[in-house]
């Protein structure tokens, strides 16, 4: 599932990610465009037991969230 949270202010990216996590999605891609949003989403994901990987391209961050079985 892809979540585009670019341009949304705090805490929208976190809220959107949390909603997706609550639906028990195992693989998520979250797009954000500020360091702060990226840190917040990453912190949330890790607190919920997800592994995170971050790609940065053209000023945007892609955070890939995966959860093992």
């Amino acid at each position: 599932m892809k979540i585009d949270a670019c341009g949304l202010s705090c805490p929208q990216p976190v809220v959107l990610t949390l909603n997706a996590i609550k639906e028990n999605k195992r693989n998520l891609e979250v797009f954000v465009d500020t360091n702060i949003a990226c840190e917040n989403v990453q912190r949330l994901a890790e607190s919920k037991g997800y592994d995170t990987k971050i790609d940065i391209a053209e000023g945007k961050f892609k955070i890939v969230l995966t959860k093992q079985e």
Binding site: C10, P11, V15
Partner: protein
């Protein structure tokens, strides 16, 4: 003086042990600013200081609260420097500016009914003012209501990247204010700049100390994303204590420093620049808390964001300054408790102020209910 240094070292070591490096400086510096001349229990108060700036420019004429506070200038410029160094400066715009302006106005009206922003609420508590507990409870309640809107899809829309120079407008305004303060020109016999000769506006630490403290706080707050409102919001919304730990550390260090400097005086009535009308302390902060959540940050955080190039946050700041002008011109701001000839005169909010707070809460509720995306 040696004792002070020794005590500071101990506080720092303790704070470091519990890994709160950096986060404690804001209130610690605030407690010292107070020692150097800032008003009692008001080492740093974003709402009060923006109100003083509005007064200095003549946007309101309450003669006791007029001063161009270098701390505010420092927060924005300190954040700008940090954002430049760490490559986080990004000009952005376009997320419902008018709504943010209105939220800023009402946030200020709420904060002035309580007499302080969240930073000052914690500082007041650290100075022994127990009314602050009521204020913080109100703040948390307002945030709790705002959180519900967030859960059900409230948002003000996306911002987009903008021209680099547009992000520099707010820092430029702050630089302009600094020049006005340094050169203190007089625009006509009865014209601006107005600087209080008595009252809390006349109480200030020396310019260089205030400005340096502001720059340091702005720099650090940009790095650690410090936000009092966010700390409460994140605990409620996602059980994230990351920001809250910072706020607790700040509060404890300010309390210790205040104890050391003999600035703690527990009580409810006649606390410095505070009133003991519980209901309106509470409701004022409900309004402020709600407006902060809907706008995405406490007043301090909005200043830091404006330094990073967020022009929507800058609009919120200008809304707050305008709200302060309304608050004093329309008699909405609370009057502090006063002791006159040994008799306590309880302050509080006028009926105009009460009406404004209620209107503000209603306006915020309407904004929260109607500006939701279906999710």
């Amino acid at each position: 003086m040696d004792n002070i240094v020794l005590f500071l070292t101990v506080v720092y070591k303790c704070a470091d042990k519990i890994k709160f490096i950096f986060r404690k400086e804001i209130l610690v510096l605030a407690a010292f600013l107070q020692k150097f001349g800032n008003p009692p229990n008001m080492g740093v108060c974003v709402a009060c200081f923006e109100r003083d700036i509005a007064g200095a420019l003549g946007l309101h004429r309450a003669s006791v609260v007029q001063y161009i506070r270098p701390e505010i200038i420092g927060f924005v410029l300190g954040s700008l420097v940090a954002a430049f160094i760490f490559k986080e400066f990004k000009a952005r715009t376009g997320s419902a500016p008018l709504v943010r302006f209105i939220l800023g106005m009402f946030a200020m009206i709420g904060a002035l009914a309580f007499l302080g922003c969240p930073w000052r609420a914690f500082l007041r508590l650290a100075g022994g003012d127990l009314n602050a507990i009521i204020g913080i409870a109100g703040l948390a309640s307002g945030i709790a209501v705002g959180d519900q809107f967030l859960k059900y899809g409230y948002n003000l829309g996306r911002s987009r990247n903008s021209y680099y120079s547009s992000g520099l407008i707010m820092p430029a305004i702050m630089a302009g204010l600094l020049l006005l303060l340094v050169f203190a020109p007089k625009f006509g016999a009865n014209g601006a700049i107005f600087l209080s000769e008595k009252g809390s506006g006349s109480m200030h630490a020396p310019l260089i100390i205030s400005l340096s403290a502001g720059l340091i706080i702005g720099f650090i707050a940009q790095r650690v994303r410090f936000c009092t409102m966010g700390s409460i919001r994140d605990v409620m919304l996602v059980r994230d204590f990351h920001l809250m730990r910072g706020v607790i550390a700040l509060f404890l260090s300010a309390f210790l420093i205040n104890l050391m400097l003999g600035q703690v005086n527990f009580g409810i009535a006649a606390q410095p620049i505070a009133h003991s009308d519980y209901l309106w302390n509470f409701l004022g902060m409900v309004l402020a808390g709600l407006a902060f959540v809907l706008a995405g940050g406490c007043p301090g955080r909005q200043l830091i964001l404006s330094g990073e190039g967020d022009t929507d946050a800058a609009i919120f700041v200008l809304g707050m300054i305008t709200g302060a002008a309304f608050a004093h011109n329309f008699g909405l701001a609370a009057k502090p408790d006063a002791v006159i000839d040994g008799v306590l005169k309880v302050g509080g909010v006028s009926s105009y102020g009460m009406t404004a707070v209620i209107i503000g809460i209603l306006a915020c509720l309407i904004i929260g209910f109607t500006m939701r995306e279906k999710i």
